[in-house]
Symmetry: C2
Subunit: 252 residues, 2 copies
DNA sequence: CGTACAATTGAAACCAGTCAACCATTGTGG
DNA sequence: CCACAATGGTTGACTGGTTTCAATTGTACG
């Protein structure tokens, strides 16, 4: 029962796959003709499958083409903390660059397709093509910034504000332009949302219910439809911007 | 009234400054003879001075040589969230790589000396010297990992656990080997600690007082002495490792 | 159809936040 | 030199948002 999420990429044609492959419009603007990369492999994941485990050997980055992944780290006493959800167009594994072993785990939350990008290859190409090196730098620092805004979220927002920001963020990553009526596929469980937002699953459920009652959103099994973007933005503590102003697309 | 923190670096000699300069043993193991970098400038900051402001032009990374910096981001409604404290040996500014403008602000919490590393120079050198490129990658991903463990801290730990982890982390970054009696200089205010840990200053104060009462630590104006590392580690939810086992030195 | 898992909802407990008073330290200017 | 203001820190009482515990319903899948 895969919730299909539209691909954000338009770019070049992948070596092995017919369809356009993500590397094109990753959030940094790196555009490559992927035919330059014959090493490129595609990988299919079913819901629940792990792409890699923490402490497994690190070799590749993965560009998400469809579906959704969760990335998580574990506490010493076994609890799981999800550090991010990765959508089509995102690059997974940046936190393990330069390490032998992965620092986190990645699992498919939904049926998912990824392109495997062996890091050694990227690194080699980066050596000769400055544009690629620069793009990698941008991706890495972009990941840092995204986590910084999550730090802000976890450090100083209340449950309702967190959820509101989460919904807006998700929505803006799927549709580049968020407006009333926008539907968001949310294949993850309440517990996973809670893990990411630093809340218990009951709190997530309650808060979503409240927003539903208030008419701000409409909750349907594994998805949400935004009814009143402006009110949602206000709940999130964000400035309410005029219609059609889709300024920052990412990284807040 | 600067709380002087010992330098962690041993490395090469900096172009302009007599003393060894940090680039040497930044957490990634990058060792460079900094005489290769005539562009290298040193900068002195008094307590409270800003090294850069969010949205100011990004040009350089900064290696901390002595003192301490706080890096923070701002909410749209003006609140400040500290995303990290930077000690001697740390590299500041990685979150802005690839951007025109800084994504965060950095201010000296104490009298501080930094080495300015123009990013364009690093990038150029990285092009020809693979070791430098690889080192930059490692730094960037290391920063991601550090923030991930902070996410974990903010997302799933209670006040006492957060403080305990914070103290252990600080201590391990100053002395590579933490043991009973280790003293930690903490030039930042309770409010700043709270901002970083997602707590209010009163909670920080109360929790430190409690740990003091319990005999786990000793609190002295702007510093802390660890009395019982094992109990502190247990409070932090970490495994208590046998004496002298200083495994991971960083990135948790 | 029934089991397993996910989600919802209620009531009670609790941790951290808020409000407020007070103390200590530092630095300034009369 | 002392008075005073300003800042930072500590502590107490109270409030409130989240968690915890528990019961129930809903949904997916063999």
């Amino acid at each position: 029962m895969a919730t299909h999420v539209a691909k954000r990429c338009d770019a070049a044609v992948c070596g092995q796959c017919e369809q356009p492959c993500v590397l094109g419009t990753l959030q940094c603007g790196l555009r490559l003709d992927l035919r330059e990369f014959p090493e490129l492999k595609e990988r299919q994941l079913a819901r629940g499958d792990y792409l890699f485990h923490a402490s497994g050997a690190f070799e590749s980055l993965y560009a998400v083409r469809s579906g959704m992944l969760k990335v998580s780290v574990l506490t010493e006493d076994g609890r799981e903390q999800i550090t991010g959800f990765f959508l089509p167009g995102d690059l997974v594994g940046l936190d393990s660059v330069g390490l032998r072993q992965h620092a986190s785990s990645a699992a498919a939350i939904d049926d998912t397709v990824v392109c495997e990008l062996p890091f050694a290859v990227l690194e080699r190409h980066g050596q000769s093509v400055p544009r690629i090196q620069a793009a990698l730098f941008r991706m890495l620092s972009g990941q840092i910034r995204r986590e910084q805004s999550t730090l802000l979220l976890l450090g100083s927002l209340r449950a309702e504000e967190r959820l509101a920001q989460f919904l807006i963020d998700l929505s803006e990553r799927v549709h580049s332009d968020t407006q009333c009526g926008s539907a968001i596929g949310m294949p993850m469980t309440r517990e996973e949302i809670g893990s990411y937002l630093g809340l218990k699953l009951e709190t997530v459920s309650r808060t979503l219910s409240k927003m539903h009652r208030d008419g701000v959103i409409e909750v349907v099994k594994r998805g949400v439809r935004i009814r009143q973007v402006d009110r949602l933005r206000r709940l999130a503590g964000l400035a309410v911007r005029p219609q059609g102003d889709s300024a920052h697309r990412r990284g807040h």
